[in-house]
């Protein structure tokens, strides 16, 4: 009864949140894992337990393997480019005398809009604007398709994602830059440090914290990317840009409703993200320094 006395109020306060959470998050997540062990296809109410055979099928599923590889490639590019550009923008904004807020407002704007809408706008740019400019300026590559061409579609997705994604990281880096105490920099300069040394030995360690956050965010969100790919290429041409989330989506809600099989893929996605971000955090936490 001690348990009841100590926890009575806690349970009351937590109950509403817990009910909704377990119904719509816990149960589906665990259910997802259970479905991955069956051969359920959504149209047929009866299904059978098939153990891990869905998972072994995955190893031979070329489309899935390809989307894993493609998503990894996309993520690598995104993590590097997104953080680099965001950091440069942060530096740019912080180093300006006037108009910091205006600049920040402008650069953050693409983050505010849905990437589906942003994606659609970019489809317009790719299909109408690029060819127009290309003919006008005589730049051949712009006149060709950026969406239905296998190699360029990767670049176009990258562009749209960067356009919509750097603003968020930029805000984080701006906050980090603003938190560097200027006394440290001044002291170092008095001691005769030059530009490069100040950047390398003073600024960099103090903002490592922000880099950990930034890389973590871009890592996990790039792996899960969906909206802009859906809007710009829809996974095409063919399956050329089919990222994992689109592969799962197509498997589950495309033509065949292979819920069981798709659930197995979803579990794999979860495990992959878990492993990669755990590794990333582990490596980077070591390098952080308290000011």
């Amino acid at each position: 009864m001690k348990f009841y006395n100590n926890n009575k109020i806690l349970i009351l306060f937590v109950l509403p949140a817990f009910i909704l959470y377990s119904t719509f998050v816990l149960y589906p997540a665990i259910g997802g894992f259970w479905y991955s062990l069956t051969d359920w296809n959504g149209l047929n109410p009866a299904y059978e337990y098939v153990g891990f055979s869905n998972y072994s099928r995955l190893l031979e599923d070329k489309a899935f393997i390809n989307s894993l590889i493609f998503t990894t490639k996309y993520t690598m590019y995104m993590v590097i480019l997104q953080n680099f550009i965001a950091f440069c923008l942060a530096l740019l904004v912080e180093s300006v005398n006037k108009g910091k807020i205006v600049l920040r407002t402008i650069f953050f704007f693409p983050n505010m809009i849905s990437m589906v809408i942003g994606g659609f706008i970019w489809v317009f740019i790719f299909t109408q604007f690029f060819p127009y400019i290309g003919e006008f300026l005589g730049i051949q590559v712009l006149t060709e398709s950026w969406i239905s061409d296998t190699s360029r579609s990767f670049t176009s997705i990258l562009m749209v994602s960067l356009w919509g994604g750097v603003g968020y990281l930029m805000i984080i880096y701006i906050a980090a830059l603003q938190s560097i105490p200027k006394e440290l920099i001044e002291a170092a300069q008095l001691d005769g440090a030059n530009k490069g040394q100040v950047i390398l030995h003073i600024i960099r360690p103090l903002i490592m914290n922000a880099f950990t956050i930034g890389i973590f965010i871009s890592l996990s969100s790039s792996f899960k990317v969906f909206d802009q790919v859906y809007a710009v290429t829809g996974g095409g041409p063919g399956r050329a840009t089919q990222v994992i989330s689109m592969n799962i989506f197509a498997e589950a809600f495309g033509f065949q409703y292979k819920y069981g099989y798709a659930s197995a893929k979803a579990v794999v996605l979860f495990v992959v993200i878990l492993i990669i971000t755990s590794i990333q955090l582990y490596i980077m936490k070591d390098k952080e320094v308290e000011a």
């Binding site: 348990f3 100590n6 926890n7 109020i9 806690l10 349970i11 306060f13 937590v14 509403p16 949140a17 817990f18 909704l20 119904t23 719509f24 998050v25 149960y27 589906p28 997540a29 665990i30 997802g32 479905y35 923008l89 530096l91 740019l92 912080e94 300006v96 807020i101 407002t105 704007f109 983050n111 809009i113 849905s114 990437m115 589906v116 809408i117 942003g118 317009f124 740019i125 109408q128 604007f129 127009y132 356009w163 968020y168 805000i171 701006i174 906050a175 105490p181 200027k182 920099i185 001044e186 965010i217 899960k224 969906f226 859906y230 989330s245 989506f249 819920y259 979803a266 979860f270 993200i273």
Partner: protein, 277 residues
């Protein structure tokens, strides 16, 4: 402090970069805007030019065809329901979880927070099944309830961290004065949590307003569509009718742009606080 950073950058390169960055950021919106006023023929001939006359036809067409008012209302209602639920339930839970130092409390907290690692795609299939079984799919209200469940973990995490900073003396004083736990929460604690509530409203409001996949899976009837979902409508039928499509896209962006212009400082602060935690 920022003047010191200035020394590290050469002015002309800086100006160039700034101009390029602004251009790249705003060009898509600008192009969408000016071309939404043109007819298709005009777009085809010259994409860059300002429209020869402001052709509002496209807007009226988009407005009517996609039932703009309806989707706007739907989206607003959805966000209101979700935010109310998330804020109310999470503030209660997060507060009590941080104050009660029992084993159950720790277990519950872990159970809540652990789901932040699960990508949406890994639970979406189960979610579809559950909502069909419970009959919550297909309506904005049901969707709102689902979003409450989805948004509660991170909100609890934030409320939990924030509530640690509320001095216990305030609670003790209120209890001595005869407050019940609920009164204490409602009149003392919750008002003190307002800063983090603001952050949570911003982050969740933005996400839910712009979300696409979940509404697409749940809402099958057009009259229930959210704004973002309604943009998809024009693409099925009109593959190249850009003048209408662009008008719709601009209409869809309008609420967000307005909110952003007025609340921009607020929003940015909310996002940066949330991210760092």
């Amino acid at each position: 402090m920022n003047k010191i950073l200035i020394k590290y950058f050469l002015s002309p390169i800086k100006i160039l970069l700034v101009v390029f960055a602004i251009g790249f950021t705003l060009l898509p919106i600008y192009l969408a805007l000016i071309n939404s006023f043109k007819s298709n023929g005009e777009i085809f001939t010259n994409v860059l030019s300002l429209p020869s006359k402001l052709n509002f036809e496209n807007y009226i067409d988009a407005f009517v065809r996609t039932r703009y008012i309806e989707s706007l209302t739907n989206t607003v209602v959805l966000v209101l329901i979700s935010l109310t639920g998330i804020v109310l339930f999470s503030s209660m839970a997060g507060y009590k979880l941080s104050r009660t130092k029992t084993k159950l409390s720790k277990i519950l907290f872990t159970v809540f927070v652990i789901s932040m690692l699960i990508p949406f795609h890994s639970m979406m299939i189960g979610l579809v099944k559950v909502s069909n079984t419970l009959n919550v799919s297909g309506s904005i209200y049901g969707l709102g309830i689902i979003y409450i469940g989805l948004g509660v973990p991170m909100a609890i995490f934030l409320y939990h961290g924030f509530s640690k900073n509320i001095p216990k003396e305030i609670e003790d004083a209120a209890r001595i004065d005869g407050c019940s736990e609920w009164q204490l929460f409602r009149k003392v604690i919750f008002p003190l949590q307002l800063p983090i509530t603001a952050t949570i409203i911003v982050i969740n409001g933005l996400w839910i307003w712009n979300d696409f996949l979940l509404p697409m899976l749940m809402l099958t009837r057009r009259e229930n569509y959210t704004i973002v979902l309604s943009t998809k409508m024009l693409f099925g039928e009109y593959t190249s009718d850009w003048s209408k499509i662009l008008a719709l896209l601009i209409l869809a962006l309008l609420p967000v742009i307005l909110v952003y212009i007025f609340l921009q400082k607020f929003i940015v602060k909310g996002i940066s606080d949330g991210a760092i935690k």
